[in-house]
Symmetry: C2
Subunit: 201 residues, 2 copies
Amino acid sequence: MNFPSKLIEDAVNEMAKLPGIGKKTALRLVLFLLKSDESLTEGLTEALTNMREGVSYCRKCFNIADKELCMICESNMREKQIICVVESTADVLAIENTGQYTGLYHVLGGVISPIEGIGPSDIRIDALLERIRDDSEISEIILALNATMEADTTAFYITKKLRPMGVKVSSIARGVPVGGELEYTDEITLGRSIVSRVSYE
Amino acid sequence: MNFPSKLIEDAVNEMAKLPGIGKKTALRLVLFLLKSDESLTEGLTEALTNMREGVSYCRKCFNIADKELCMICESNMREKQIICVVESTADVLAIENTGQYTGLYHVLGGVISPIEGIGPSDIRIDALLERIRDDSEISEIILALNATMEADTTAFYITKKLRPMGVKVSSIARGVPVGGELEYTDEITLGRSIVSRVSYE
């Protein structure tokens, strides 16, 4: 693609580094900013800079926080005895949006991945074990990791470490999505949904 | 959507003002920036700020330019007697990418739209007429406007103004897109493609 200006080219190249944004979309966004009032570009760049520089992480669960503790750890409305272990802060947001969970979280910040050179000490497993050791109130750990090989390895590792600590460990259910059709569900998911069938009480 | 931090919320809201970017995509982009190295956010915000503050417009054709004249107006390789009239700088880029046009451009910066209160004097029609008046070399004007009611009105207005000036005026062809199937082409386009049929020579 030929650009009429070096400045436009730079802006497009930077914008295209974002996930899911190709050169064409980046150009469309850049030309939109160019056409719009200057305050829009200012607002965007300021908000991004403030966000990147200002956001800190909860010292307890490593979720995004404005203060030392995140809103969830600080709240009096949450069940303090359950911890849901997730990979990233995006997962916390996704679970929070369901409105079905009232416990606390622990953000690992990744999963064990030998290929990428990420070992158990590179993610926040030790901090999780310490949290459980220090707080006798904690009685249940829910593993809410993605359905990947690496996440399964991580879940296996954490489960092994947690067994001697006397807390109940569970994983979120895998199965046919609500609204999904059996015919179009992959075999592994469908297989798992049969193995982990739920009996009517 | 609940956000764990005011800073994240602000960044998402600003990002979601871009066209085609909803709250969910904005959140994904913001969390990506948060997870990535700080230099990525810095690079992006700097490039956008420099672009918005630094880009100027060609004083002749109003295309984006780094200097007083744009690269196209300045070039010695272009045919100086043809001007292609377009609505926006994005259209210039689109036509340049075809590699089929070697003349000059004139960017109107919009089209006549009574509903939005945009009259002939709000877009750069006078500048176009002046350009033709001042430069006797110019012999042909190609109208490359979008296929909307407003663009048709604008084309009609420009054509009327150009008639006494003795330049040849044409419009880009409307018809069935290359690779398109007749069966799925809308009636108006198909109708126009029959009316403007091209005879084999």
